[in-house]
C-alpha cells in the first residue's frame, strides 16, 4: 500500500498557513503611503504652518496582534472654553494606503478633546495625531505600534 510521506510541521508550512483565507492580501491595489505622503497630507490639511510637538497624547498598544482593528485613543490638553479650545485633530499614517485615517472636530461644548476609536494598520508604524487649536496653533503627538499580523492583508 502506498503511504503518503510523513511530514513534520515546518517553518514554511506554518508561515504559509492561512494565507489562502486572506488571498485578498496578495495584490494590494494601491501602494503604501510613505512619510513623504504623510507630510503632503498634512500640508493639504494645515498648510505650511509650524507644528509643535506636545499637548497631544496618542495611545495605541505597543504591539497589536492584528492590524484590522487597533484601539486608538487621542486626547489634547486644552481647557475647552469658548476662547480656548481644540478645533480638530487629524490622525495620520505613514504606511497605510492612504495617509489620512480620520479627522475629529470639536467644539467648546465637547468639554473634553478626547476620542477613542479603532483603526486599521497595514504594518508596524508610527501613527501621528495633529491638533489645531482655536488660536490656529498646531500640536502633535505620535505613537509607534508593532503589528504582528497585518501588512498588505488589512486594507
Amino acid at each position: 500500500m502506498m503511504r503518503k510521506s510523513q511530514r513534520h510541521l515546518n517553518r514554511r508550512d506554518l508561515l504559509a498557513f492561512g494565507a489562502g483565507s486572506v488571498l485578498i492580501a496578495s495584490s494590494p491595489l494601491r501602494s503604501f503611503a510613505s512619510q513623504a505622503e504623510l507630510e503632503q497630507a498634512r500640508r493639504e490639511l494645515f498648510g505650511d504652518r509650524p507644528v509643535t510637538e506636545g499637548r497631544v497624547s496618542l495611545t495605541l498598544p505597543p504591539i497589536a496582534e492584528n492590524g484590522f482593528s487597533v484601539p486608538l485613543s487621542v486626547e489634547v490638553d486644552s481647557p475647552m472654553t469658548d476662547r480656548d479650545f481644540v478645533k480638530r485633530v487629524a490622525i495620520l499614517s505613514p504606511r497605510n494606503p492612504l495617509p489620512l485615517i480620520a479627522q475629529y472636530h470639536f467644539t467648546p461644548q465637547s468639554g473634553r478633546a478626547k476620542v477613542d476609536a479603532r483603526i486599521r494598520m497595514s504594518g508596524t508604524q508610527s501613527i501621528q495625531a495633529i491638533a489645531e487649536m482655536s488660536d490656529g496653533s498646531l500640536w502633535s503627538g505620535s505613537q509607534e505600534t508593532v503589528v504582528t499580523l497585518a501588512a498588505c492583508v488589512v486594507l
Partner: protein
C-alpha cells in the same frame, strides 16, 4: 527584546512532534483545557469583555429583534420561547430523535423555523441565521459546555474525532497536530489555541465580522490547503460535536472576539 522574541517564535515548531500515525489518538489532558481567549492580547480580551464595544453584539442585537418578529405565516420565536432559550446552546450539538441525526444550533433553529414557524430554512451563514444563532448562544454565555456524545450521538462523535485526527491537505496536517499537540506555540502572527468552539459564533478581527464555527473550520481546512467542506456539512457537524465534547466544562463565550 519582546519584538525579537515574537519574530523568532514565528520560526517555531520545526521541533514539533514525532511523525504521527494516521489515527494516533491523542486527547487533551483534561487538566490543561483552556479557552482560545487565553491566547489573545489584553486589548482583545478587553474588547470581548466590553458588552458595549464588543462588535459581536451588533449581531446579538439583530438576533434579539428577529427573535420577536413573526414570520409571514407563523408566530415569532418569542411567542413559544417566552423566557428565551437560556443554557440551551451549551448542550448543542445534540441528537434529535425526529430526524435521527445530530443537529447543531443552526440546524435546530432552522428546524424550528420550518416546523413551528411555517417558514423556509435560513441559509447557513446568512445574516439572519448568524444573528439568531448569536442571540441564542449569548443566552448561554458563561454556561459550561455540556454536550452528550454517548448513546445515539456516539457514531457521529467518532466520525468527528476521525476527521480531527486525520492528516489532510497539501500540508498533510491534522487538526490534532496543531490543536492538541502544539497549542501554545506560535504560528505566523498567531498563537495556536486548543481549537475549541466555545466562542462561536465569534467576531474575528480578520473577518471584520461575526462568523459561525463552520466558517472557522473552513479557514483551518483552507489553511492546510485542503478543500473546505460546505457550510452545514454533516461532517463538520460531526467535528463540531467532537470539539464540543472535547471542551466539556469550558464556559461559553459567544460573542467572543478572536483574531
Amino acid at each position: 527584546m519582546r519584538l525579537g522574541a515574537l519574530l523568532a517564535s514565528a520560526a517555531l515548531i520545526g521541533a514539533c512532534s514525532q511523525p504521527a500515525e494516521e489515527h494516533n489518538a491523542i486527547e487533551l489532558d483534561p487538566e490543561s483545557i483552556v479557552s482560545g481567549s487565553r491566547f489573545l492580547t489584553a486589548e482583545t480580551q478587553a474588547l470581548q469583555a466590553d458588552d458595549f464595544a464588543n462588535p459581536g453584539f451588533l449581531w446579538v442585537d439583530r438576533g434579539e429583534a428577529l427573535f420577536s418578529e413573526p414570520t409571514e405565516n407563523g408566530s415569532a420565536c418569542v411567542a413559544c420561547h417566552e423566557k428565551g432559550l437560556p443554557g440551551v446552546a451549551a448542550t448543542y450539538p445534540a441528537f434529535d430523535t425526529e430526524t435521527n441525526s445530530v443537529l447543531n444550533l443552526e440546524g435546530r433553529i432552522n428546524q424550528c423555523r420550518v416546523k413551528n414557524q411555517n417558514a423556509p430554512e435560513l441559509a447557513y451563514e446568512s445574516d439572519p441565521l448568524l444573528s439568531l444563532t448569536a442571540y441564542v448562544a449569548y443566552q448561554s454565555r458563561g454556561a459550561l459546555v455540556s454536550v452528550d456524545s454517548s448513546g445515539p450521538s456516539r457514531e457521529t462523535y467518532e466520525t468527528g474525532r476521525q476527521y480531527f485526527q486525520t492528516r489532510r491537505g497539501q500540508f498533510n496536517l491534522s487538526c490534532q497536530q496543531c490543536h492538541t499537540e502544539n497549542w501554545g506555540k506560535r504560528l505566523r502572527g498567531d498563537t495556536l489555541s486548543q481549537g475549541h468552539g466555545n466562542g462561536f459564533p465569534a467576531y474575528r478581527l480578520e473577518w471584520q465580522s461575526m462568523g459561525s464555527l463552520h466558517r472557522r473550520l473552513r479557514d483551518c481546512d483552507t489553511g492546510v490547503r485542503a478543500e473546505p467542506l460546505p457550510y452545514g456539512d454533516p461532517l463538520y457537524i460531526a467535528v463540531e460535536l467532537y470539539l464540543a465534547a472535547r471542551s466539556n466544562e469550558l464556559p461559553l463565550e459567544s460573542p467572543a472576539i478572536r483574531r
